[in-house]
Symmetry: C2
Subunit: 176 residues, 2 copies
């Protein structure tokens, strides 16, 4: 079987993923492969063999994050109150993202990779629904909402992001 990994290979793979998670959480996508390899206690050749590209590694690390966000999005779409669903969703995602700012920067770095496309689709739905319900201003596109929220989170000094998010979300509210 080509899909089976030797025991030591599997062990190293886990070490690499753990190390990468730690390194990316600490330094964002700028963490170097060498640092990660060192942290994992393996040669960097080993890292590059499993993940032909650095982005592959980043994506492997944030996959779980993205899946969580997707779950949140699906839940939001089931809520009755479209407006409340949107604002709650935004705060939930922010809370998750900012629990590890480095990983958030990795998500931003990846932009819309395969797999994130589905998430984008869901977000777009949440936003449109909230706009249709008159809870969110109509002169923005779903992608604008994503970018605005993202940039507020990214630009906020450590620990201050909640206030920044408040400003942007208030700005997104529909006002007669």
């Amino acid at each position: 079987m080509t899909t089976e990994l030797r025991a030591d290979a599997r062990r190293n793979l886990e070490r690499v993923l753990d190390a990468a998670t730690e390194a990316f959480a600490a330094s964002g996508p700028d963490a170097s492969i060498d640092d990660i390899a060192r942290l994992a206690g393996v040669g960097h050749g080993t890292v590059c063999r499993r993940f032909p590209t650095k982005d592959d590694l980043i994506y492997a690390v944030i996959e779980r994050h993205v899946a969580q966000m997707q779950a949140m999005a699906e839940e939001a779409l089931e809520s009755e109150d479209a407006g409340e669903a949107f604002f709650d969703f935004a705060r939930q995602v922010a809370e998750l993202s900012m629990s590890t700012p480095g990983l958030h920067r990795c998500v931003v770095h990846c932009g819309s990779k395969p797999g994130a496309a589905e998430l984008d689709r869901l977000v777009a739905k949440i936003v449109s629904r909230a706009q249709a319900a008159g809870a969110v201003r109509a002169d923005v596109q779903p992608v604008d909402v994503q970018l605005l929220v993202r940039s507020a989170l990214t630009s906020a000094p450590a620990g201050q992001w909640r206030r920044y998010l408040d400003v942007v979300l208030d700005g997104l509210e529909f006002r007669p």
Copy 2:
């Protein structure tokens, strides 16, 4: 006189500044010194001699920009209506910044260099005044306002920044 430049030196200096302005406007602070030197038609040693550090060069290029912003700030401080002054000032600065997005990114890159400190002080005054007048929400600091506006401008896709700014400024308005 040590402060006098030889004619050719002055000519080259101007060429370098022009080239740097063009390159930074096109590519932001990532424009390489080599590119700038090539564009100016000089060796890159010449660039590095005049500007020991790349940041020195960047700062020389944005100096005029910063000065213009400072003038706008001073004017804003003379206005009667503190709230209107703030919002107008924000839009003026945005208009200036985004007329050359690459330079805007340079300004962001420089953060608060010597010289920009004075501008920061003026901005802080404008914001506090608007807050005291009840036009701007009180739960943000002047620096937060700067970062929020900056990030909205930076994250907006080409040509879309006005809408992004609208959202943030609306979010900054005081609401009873």
